[in-house]
């Protein structure tokens, strides 16, 4: 990793905790050359139109993701409903053919609140930690969390209303999520009660899917309502501590999105579809510090940008694997 990418790596961690991405002070000569080439190059406009006209826009990754998400959640439901016992429990804690799996945020909350950790809790959280380090951290959000799917649909309604000029997206301060994380951790320690679980839409939805709906779903509806009419993807963007927990795990994950500078026309389609557009600051004209830049840990690896990019400048990458092959 070059010095520049190393610097960016640490900056992206800060960005995940809520700081705004800044313009890079230094850019590698190779990237500099591409930036310079693109500046005022009239041929690029023709090329851009050409690429746009021939871009194959499918929803490959989105479809794969939705299928995965739905299957994962239905596996819970049917394990109980049909008593097939593959994945028993709920997203907060479960057993996959007998092996304990415990959600990192829920596990952490229980550890902080109860201050006593039994073996199964360690085994379960440890397994899940390794799993999500390998799979990409916030991959959990977009590929498993049932609230993410509902929020995606709500987002479509929101964007439709925005287009009709009926609502506007009210953005918030992203540092809020870190504040919430700390508050809920402190509340768990101080009160000895896992209060976040009471309002976690992930837990509420997961249980509703498995054990039947309850009134707690009203809170989930309220959140969706807020996101449709007031602030785009507000819960996932500004509030959810689970996302931050998995984001931290994703810092060292080999699975990530890679950005290639040379083919990019800097039109920003990717940033428009992205749940966390601050991770894509590098695609802004003149910002990429290297010719290839990995996207930061707050990225949920949902693949919407990969689907939407007309030039294939964004792609999934497993670090180290490409070298091996």
């Amino acid at each position: 990793m070059s010095q520049l990418l190393k610097r960016r790596f640490f900056e992206q961690i800060k960005v995940m905790f809520g700081s705004e991405p800044s313009k890079p002070k230094e850019i590698a000569p190779a990237a500099q050359a591409i930036h310079f080439y693109k500046k005022g190059n009239r041929d690029l406009i023709a090329e851009k139109l050409h690429a746009r006209a021939h871009a194959i826009h499918d929803n490959k990754w989105r479809n794969r993701r939705w299928v995965t998400l739905i299957i994962a959640n239905l596996l819970f439901t049917f394990s109980f409903f049909l008593d097939i016992q593959i994945l028993e429990g709920a997203l907060t804690a479960s057993r996959f053919v007998g092996f304990h799996l415990i959600d990192l945020n829920s596990g952490l909350q229980v550890m902080l609140a109860h201050k006593h950790i039994i073996n199964n809790l360690i085994i379960g959280t440890g397994t899940v930690l390794v799993l999500w380090v390998l799979l990409g951290g916030r991959t959990f959000c977009s590929w498993v969390c049932p609230y993410h799917l509902l929020a995606e649909w709500a987002e479509k309604i929101h964007l439709f209303l925005v287009k009709k000029k009926l609502v506007t997206d009210q953005t918030m301060d992203r540092r809020l999520r870190t504040v919430f994380w700390v508050i809920f951790a402190l509340l768990a320690i101080a009160t000895g009660y896992t209060v976040f679980e009471a309002i976690s839409p992930t837990g509420i939805l997961s249980r509703a899917l498995i054990y039947g709906p309850g009134l707690a779903l009203l809170w989930v509806l309220a959140l969706l309502f807020f996101e449709v009419f007031f602030s785009r993807r507000a819960w996932c963007r500004y509030a959810c501590p689970i996302g931050l927990t998995y984001g931290v795990v994703g810092i060292i994950s080999p699975v990530r999105i890679k950005y290639k500078l040379d083919g990019c026309f800097h039109e920003g389609d990717c940033r428009k579809v992205c749940l966390v557009p601050h991770v894509l600051d590098t695609v802004i004209k003149g910002r990429a510090v290297e010719t290839e830049v990995p996207i930061g840990p707050d990225c949920t690896r949902c693949g919407l940008c990969v689907d939407t990019c007309p030039t294939g400048s964004l792609s999934f990458e497993v670090k180290g694997l490409s070298k091996l092959m």
């Binding site: 057993r95 009210q170 809170w219």
Partner: protein, 292 residues
């Protein structure tokens, strides 16, 4: 949020020009301020909703029947991860998860004994085995106190497996204690018998009857009774020596029969479930300890 709010900020107008970053425009400052307000709004909203999550702590004074092996209420609430694995393993579906308005923790398991009691038909307290966090446990950690009277004098003997090599349940503390709360309604005290389906034909509750099938609980409605003197609570109690019909003296000095609860009672709630009178004459006092 109004978009035509007038600018009233003059405090930022005279920013020293020595900073390399240009001073923010009025519009930018305004939108920043609004964004800050919105963020504060969301903070308040989410935290407000979260505070409602504390209701169970307040309600925890109100005793709820938790699954067997549960830690004391506050420890139970802190350690339960709300996954429902205990719900999934229970053969009689005695365990339910609390909802928003139950006021005892969204997703936290409880037992409504009158509707469906724990009859230990799993033999091994499966819910305890399933619990990933030790909220339900065979071995209470040493730093947690055992309330006096909560501990069982001896491991309870499960009548259903009395002849097995290991007849006891791995349970050290009671869930509660059964108590004859409405003796005036008790059929045994009145010297009456009982014939027919206890709880009526529509009652959904199930129980294991050893003479029917050890491994397959059946509906109570499918198991009618015909007893000359009602003793259903004693007859169906799964724990050895927990309850018996005794001859007692009424206040007027006359002799009569009455169910009497003894120390081995674990508070499972079967007696409450099978009691044929409405409302039940015998109830479980959840989290109650044995008082001599």
């Amino acid at each position: 949020m109004s978009d035509n709010e007038n600018d009233n900020g003059s405090e930022n107008a005279s920013k020293p020009a020595v900073t390399p970053t240009p001073p923010l425009s009025k519009a930018k400052r305004q939108s920043n301020r609004r964004r800050f307000l919105r963020t504060a709004l969301l903070t308040g909203g989410v935290l407000g909703a979260a505070l409602s999550g504390f209701l169970p702590l307040i309600y925890s004074q109100k005793k709820r029947l938790r699954p067997p092996g549960a830690l004391d209420e506050s420890d139970f609430l802190s350690s339960c991860i709300k996954c429902g694995q205990c719900v999934q393993v229970c053969p009689v579906s005695a365990i339910k998860l609390a909802d928003l308005i139950d006021g005892m923790g969204v997703g936290v398991p409880y037992i409504d004994a009158r509707q469906q009691a724990c009859d230990f038909s799993c033999d091994a307290v499966q819910c305890v085995l399933a619990c990933p966090t030790g909220s339900l446990t065979y071995h209470k950690p040493e730093f947690l106190v055992v309330r006096p009277g909560a501990a069982l004098a001896a491991k309870p003997i499960l009548l259903a497996k009395e002849k097995d090599a290991e007849p006891t349940l791995n349970l050290t503390e009671r869930m509660g204690v059964a108590r004859l709360t409405r003796p005036e309604a008790c059929l045994a005290i009145q010297g009456k018998g009982f014939k027919g389906q206890t709880r009526g034909p529509d009652f959904k509750g199930t129980m294991r009857y050893m003479d029917v099938d050890r491994w397959k609980p059946i509906r109570i409605a499918d198991h009618p009774y015909d007893v000359p003197e009602c003793d259903l609570c004693v007859r169906e109690c799964p724990i050895k020596g927990a309850i018996s019909i005794e001859t007692v003296f009424a206040p007027d000095g006359s002799k009569r029969k009455s169910p009497v609860v003894h120390e081995p009672c674990v508070g499972c709630g079967v007696c409450e479930m099978v009691c044929p009178v409405e409302p039940t004459a015998i109830t479980i006092e959840a989290r109650e300890v044995w008082k001599t």
